[in-house]
Amino acid sequence: MKALTGNLLDDGEAVFLGHDGQWAARFADAELFDDEAAALAAEARAKTQITVVVDPYLIDVIPSEHGYAPLSYRERVRALGPTNKPEHGKKTEGGEAIDALLHAHGAARSKGRVELIRRK
């Protein structure tokens, strides 16, 4: 399963493509793609939104105790905020969706991100 992520152009915030086609701040609002072709098509569309989002890429998503979570530790840090500052980032809102991310396991780096780093 995949989700589409990127950073907003104007403030750099980590965002996820939502069910409504808008970019959402919360991973819990991300659309999850079962179909790889649909995911790739969404990624291709996102790459044309150059005034909205920077470097969109697909990430792997896995089931967690309370829902779904990004497979990679890096992506969970992006979805939660830095672990050294409890008061900063999206984790501060709490709730089940955040718990799902906090309790997820599997720290592999997502392929999309690895390719992005390689390109940079």
Partner: protein
């Protein structure tokens, strides 16, 4: 300190206006990200995990009170109220918005600061001995020469697109507090047998994926030829550097492949063929720059202070005096180290309130000057011994009185995977866990001098190769693991750490450090630091202890 003149100010104003327009064109879609990225990086603006990050240059780590106050204002207004001092003596702001970046640069320009050449394949911010101008063991003030290099290299068209980034450090003291052996160019000011001032020139040091200690390519370069010789080195690098392979593009790889002698011959040939008089600094210009660093009016004081000695009746102050107060070249003065490593806190982080306090203390007690040390700590360089107790008390109000400089809790850690887009693993929580383990000041003091340095990836921003204990975060089969190295040092007798053995998982790192400290306390002989004991015993006893616990 050096003050920007009309030309400097005009140049900065132009640059801010140019970047403002570039940002507007990016936000409106006139520029794509690929077109814009190079432009924003040339202004120190990165895109990281949670937001944009602005890296502000602090040349030779020197800040006036007004500059530090401005950084506090920016941190509070445009960030989340703090900044992060780095191992390159820069300040990173981790929560910046693109639309705010031009305004921030305008604020920085008001106090003679910028973020130019804090990224990209150019000559980066130049560092120096953080005790420059305050220590008795220097032969000249290295800031003068760094300022000359800064002015020469800023916007230098020939060196704006080098094969890779390029870092220079300068010291004028035999005690190397600037880590010159692990820089692309390390410059060590000294006097030769004839008493003439010159530079020992080291080229090709560096950390990262392939660490090297820089070899000496010229033992004594007369100071007047500094800029032309740097030009020759950079021209040889520009000509022969590996632009085809990013992993082999740093000058250290070129120097290693040609050999120090071979590289040196190329440099000498280039240098002798150039019109060096066109490049070298005219005496008048050198005098202008030197005047900016003329010592202030220090008072004539006795070498000792009754107030300072009396304050040591308080054991907490006595501990601070032992670890954070260093000798000054002027009798009756001291260099006061400010630790940004309170156990449990993020190494190098400084809140806006802390910055403002330090700006006030710098203004009142330290001739309007604050320094940044590459070990992610700050310094008040010129404090009267009589005033040290008052400074210490004031520091305590903002949690800045931690008496641990050089001790096991004074840990270097890069931002790692908590912020950085390139990291493989987190560095900060590892530092926090180790620091909490040794937070008892008496324990930390019993262990003594021990530098732990942690990087979240092989790029080595946390200098793990030169830690007495180095810790490198790696991605091992999808988990955060940490490779341990022992025996690194950036001192005059510099050395690169040796890998201890297989990487350990995150939750075993503090235990592993604990085990190694136990070995040291058991094995050490009179007067030995951790590093000395390691150099005498080698890896074996440490390896045995760590892997008995970790596996």
């Amino acid at each position: 300190m050096y003050q920007y003149d009309a030309i400097d100010k005009e140049m900065l104003a132009d640059r801010v206006a140019e970047f403002r327009e570039q940002c507007e064109r990016r936000l409106s879609g006139d520029l794509t990200e690929d077109q814009f990225k190079r432009l924003r990086l040339m202004n120190g603006l990165y895109l990281q995990l949670h937001a944009y990050m602005l890296r502000v240059a602090i040349p030779y780590g020197a800040l006036s009170s007004a500059q530090l106050r401005k950084l506090a204002f920016i941190a509070r207004t445009y960030d989340k109220g703090y900044g992060h001092f780095t191992t390159r003596t820069n300040l990173q702001l981790h929560w910046i918005k693109l639309k705010d970046a031009p305004d921030i640069l305008e604020h920085l320009a008001e106090v003679g600061m910028h973020a130019i050449q804090t990224s990209g394949n150019d000559i980066r911010n130049i560092t120096a001995d953080p005790h420059a101008g305050a220590t008795a063991d220097e032969v000249d003030d290295p800031r003068i020469w760094v300022e000359a290099i800064r002015q020469w290299s800023t916007f230098h068209p020939e060196f704006s697109f080098l094969p890779r980034k390029f870092k220079i450090a300068v010291t004028a003291s035999p005690a190397d507090r600037a880590a010159t052996k692990v820089y692309d160019i390390g410059l060590r000011l000294h006097r030769n047998d004839a008493g003439e001032l010159g530079f020992e020139v080291l080229v090709g040091g560096g950390l990262g994926r392939t660490p090297y200690l820089g070899p000496v390519i010229r033992g004594h370069l007369p100071v007047r030829h500094l800029l032309s010789y740097l030009q020759a080195i950079l021209r040889v690098y520009n000509r022969h550097g590996r632009r085809d392979n990013i992993w082999k593009a740093r000058i250290k790889v070129l120097v290693a492949s040609l050999g120090a002698e071979g590289f040196g011959r190329e440099v000498e040939a280039e240098w002798e063929s150039a019109d060096n008089a066109q490049v070298d600094l005219p005496d008048l210009e050198l005098a202008r720059i030197r005047a900016a660093f003329t010592p202030r009016n220090f008072a004539t004081l006795p070498a000792t202070s009754a107030a300072f000695e009396a304050a040591k009746a308080d054991p907490a102050f006595a501990r601070f005096a032992r670890h954070n107060v260093k000798p000054h070249k002027i009798p009756g003065y001291a260099i006061v180290d400010i630790s940004l490593k309170k156990p449990g806190e993020t190494p190098g982080d400084c809140s806006a309130e802390q910055m403002e306090l330090l700006a006030n203390l710098g203004e009142r007690y330290s001739q309007d000057e604050i320094r940044v040390h590459y070990e992610q700590d700050l310094i008040l360089p010129h404090v009267m011994l009589d005033d040290v107790p008052a400074v210490w008390k004031a520091l305590g109000a903002e949690g800045l009185d931690t008496a641990n400089r050089g001790l096991i809790t004074d840990i270097i850690a890069c931002p790692g995977l908590d912020y950085c887009a390139l990291a493989n693993a987190r560095a900060i929580p590892i530092a926090q866990a180790i620091a909490k383990r040794f937070e008892d000041p008496a324990l930390a003091e019993r262990v003594g001098e021990l530098g732990i340095k942690i990087s979240g990836c092989i790029n080595a921003c946390g200098h793990h190769h030169i830690g007495a204990i180095g810790i490198l975060g790696v991605d091992k089969k999808g988990e955060e693991f940490y490779q341990l190295t022992l025996g690194g040092s950036a001192e005059a007798e510099a050395s690169l750490g040796q890998v201890l053995g297989p990487a350990v998982p995150a939750n075993r790192v503090a235990d592993a450090v604990d085990s190694m400290v136990e070995v040291y306390l058991r094995e050490r002989q009179e007067g030995e630091r951790f590093l000395d004991t390691y150099r005498r015993t080698g890896l074996a006893p440490f390896k045995e202890a760590v892997y008995a616990v970790a596996h």
